[in-house]
Structures are given as structure tokens and as C-alpha cells.
Amino acid sequence: MKTIPVETTINGDSAEFLCHADESLLDVLRDRLGLTGAKEGCGTGDCGACSVMLNGRVVCSCLVLGVEAQGAEVETIEGMANGEELHPLQRIFLEEAALQCGVCTPGILVAAKALLEKNPDPTDTELRYWLAGNLCRCTGYDKIIKAVQTAAAEMRSA
């Protein structure tokens, strides 16, 4: 199978890669671009661990073809912090112990940030439904929901 050249923007930087037509964006990010922050928990869009932003919307990168990144803007967990300054969600996840094993954390942070950009003041119910596609097996979600709400409040007052 021939590879296809793709030009895209990842975390604000232009990027070029070659990939096969049937490769997922997740495989491209992890195997070709060394961006392993997005994880494959299922490969079928059921766990959300591979969440990234594609043209301003949160997607499962396992359900996007690499070639679809042509001309698109992709944002991953690796682009969330501004240098050494963590995004409020990242910092508060640490402060409030909203992670245990941490493997679902990149996907949850990406998804939560997407929600707060759309809805800066979600109810717990809205937040829980928004994050329903991000499975976490360690925390029971409680500290995740609380941390996102703390971050949302801080971001609203900033």
C-alpha cells in the first residue's frame, strides 16, 4: 500500500507526515509523530482515551483517518500546557488528585477543556454526560468532576 503525504497543523505547528490510507489519526500521532499522550484504550470510540481536538471539536482520534488531518488543525494533550505553565485543568487535576493511574487523564483533560470552551459554567449533570465517553476505572469519577468544576470556576473568574 502506498503512503499518502499529509500536511497539517498540530498544536499550532505545521507538520507533515506520510501515512497509509487506512491508518487512524491515533496511530499517526503515536507511531509516526511520537505524540504518545493520546492512548488507545479500545480502538472503537468507546473509551475516549485517544481524545484530541480536530478543527475545534473533540474527537476520538481512533475514529479519524490520518489522511483526514490534511489541512486541519489538531490539538493534543501535548499542546495543552503553555511551556512550563500548566493549563488550569492540568494544575487542578494534580492539586485535587483527580487521577490515579493517569492513563485516561489526557483524554479527559482534552474533553473537559472542549466543554469549558463551549460552556464555561456546566452543571455537574452536564459535565457527567459530556464526559460519559471518557472511561476512568480508577477514580469513580468523583474527584474528576470536582476538579473540572474547580478549574471552571477559576477560569470564569480569570
Binding site: 490510507a21 480502538g43 470510540g45 468507546d46 481512533c62 483517518l65 489522511v67 483526514e68
Partner: protein
């Protein structure tokens, strides 16, 4: 697998028509990529149409809305006028998958994939939605109810694909609702589902009613008798009993890992009843 982005609908139709191997259309990708991963299908050709004119647009047309085939569930949910006119259709689309899936999944993809459990299909059927189909020989309009023909199957010919779906105009005193049953609160395939679309007169009496159920037969079913049971009523107990009886009678489900025949039949009736009450209230009716 080859990946192609044709320059026109006509070119896409020709390409699909002439493909000797297995061809798939990439809309939201939320089904086809899962099938790829599971090695259920290995297409020779993947055709991406999202960039073609109108594919990602919602436009007003004849008092209703034409929704491009690549419009995502999230985009439909953000369209206030569409949501006000067909809340049941939009809530059905919005129930497909997670926030992540909502960014990609489409009504047209949900229809063409042919699942009897597709969340957007029952309300499209009760809304009388019409799909615009492009084929090698041109364009035709097909009622949505006629598209699915069985699990994983549809009535489109080789080379044909949907470019948009028209949700027609409706009177002011009308509305719709969609409900599904799933074991969790999110992330599941419907075990049973029901959509109800109602039109009322100024006294709140139902003048027209359409009821469709999902996941209880090889395709989504439009249950004519169930609609008939509601017409002329204000959803009194007798009318609702008639609705439930008609829905249960129409169900022809299977027992599988997601539910039993009895469970699907019983809950389809319950959901139709509940959806009818929601649609009635939305249409301005007061019981």
C-alpha cells in the same frame, strides 16, 4: 485501501459505481472505522465527501431544513431553529455515542449503516424526512423510511449515496420526541426506542400522529396503528393504551446479548407512551 476525495457528486457516483472491489463512504467514520479495526470489512476504496458543496450545511428550505449528509450531531444540536422545529429528531441524533462521536457522527451515516437500533432513524421516519440520493444516473429523493432494508443493509444501489436529508415544514402546534432504552445512561446501543410526532388542533386534540419504533424488528418500524390510536384524542388513557397495544403488536424483535424479546417489546410500548406525552407537551398540548 485507496482514499479518494472526488471533486463533485457526479464524479463520486461514477467512482463508486465503477469500483470493482469493496467501496465505503466516509462520512463521520464512526461506524466504518470501527468495522475496519474489527476486520469486519476491508474496503478497497474509501470515498471522502465531506468537502463537497452543501455536505456540511444546514439550510432552510420550504419552511423546513435541509441537512447536509456530513453535518455532525453536535452541529445539529447547536442549530437553534432546527432544534425548535424538530426537537425529537435532534435529540435522537444527539444520543448517538459520546461527545467525541457527536463531533463526527451524522444522521445520514446512521441511516445508511442500516442498524435497526440507529438513534436518529425513528424520529426521521416520524418526521417524514426525505433523503436526497445522488447516483450515477442523477439525483432522486427517497423517503427515509424506505432506505434501511435490514440489519446492515439499505436500498441504495451501487454508486448511490445520500447528499442531504430534508426535514419538512410542520405546523406550529406540532412537535416530536424520541426516547431510547439503554442499560447505562450513555454509550450504549438502544435496546429499544420510540419516536412520536404529533400535530394538534387549537383545542389540543391530536390531528395527526406518527409513531416509529427501533431495535424491535429488522428495520425501524413506522407503526401506523399506533398513530391512529392517538388521533382525535388528548392522549387520554384509552388512546395511550391503544398506542401501547399497537406498538407491542408491531414488535418483532430478537433475544440477544442486549435484551430479550419480552423486554424489548415491553419497553418499546413504555417508551412510545412516554415519548407521546413529551411530544404532546412540546406541541403545546395540555392534558
Amino acid at each position: 485501501m485507496r482514499y479518494v476525495k472526488p471533486q463533485s457528486f457526479e464524479a463520486a457516483a461514477t467512482l463508486l459505481h465503477e469500483e470493482a472491489g469493496i467501496a465505503r463512504i466516509l462520512a463521520g467514520g464512526t461506524d466504518v472505522l470501527v468495522q475496519l479495526k474489527a476486520e469486519m470489512v476491508e474496503p478497497d476504496l474509501m470515498v471522502d465527501l465531506k468537502h463537497l458543496p452543501g455536505m456540511r450545511e444546514i439550510v432552510a428550505e420550504d419552511g423546513g431544513f435541509r441537512v447536509g449528509a456530513a453535518v455532525s450531531g453536535a452541529e445539529m444540536g447547536e442549530h437553534a431553529a432546527l432544534k425548535a422545529m424538530w426537537p425529537g429528531v435532534v435529540e435522537g441524533v444527539e444520543l448517538i455515542g459520546s461527545s467525541q462521536v457527536q463531533s463526527r457522527a451524522t444522521m445520514a451515516g446512521n441511516l445508511c449503516t442500516g442498524s435497526p437500533a440507529g438513534d436518529s432513524v425513528p424520529a426521521m421516519v416520524t418526521a417524514g424526512a426525505v433523503a436526497r440520493v445522488q447516483g450515477p444516473d442523477g439525483v432522486r429523493d427517497v423517503p427515509v423510511v424506505d432506505i434501511p432494508t435490514g440489519p446492515g443493509k439499505n436500498s441504495l444501489a451501487k454508486g448511490e449515496f445520500i447528499t442531504s436529508i430534508l426535514l419538512p415544514a410542520r405546523p406550529d402546534t406540532a412537535s416530536d420526541a424520541y426516547l431510547r432504552f439503554i442499560p447505562r445512561t450513555e454509550m450504549d446501543i438502544a435496546v429499544s426506542s420510540a419516536a412520536v410526532s404529533l400535530e394538534l388542533d387549537s383545542d389540543g386534540v391530536v390531528t395527526a400522529a406518527h409513531v416509529a419504533v427501533g431495535a424491535v424488528a429488522p428495520t425501524v418500524l413506522l407503526v401506523q396503528d399506533a398513530g391512529v390510536a392517538l388521533v382525535g384524542s388528548k392522549l387520554d388513557d384509552a388512546a395511550i393504551a391503544g398506542l401501547v397495544a399497537a406498538v407491542e403488536a408491531a414488535c418483532n424483535p430478537i433475544t440477544d446479548k442486549r435484551g430479550t424479546i419480552e423486554f424489548r417489546t415491553k419497553t418499546a410500548g413504555v417508551l412510545a407512551k412516554r415519548a407521546a406525552h413529551i411530544a404532546y407537551a412540546r406541541a403545546g398540548g395540555q392534558a
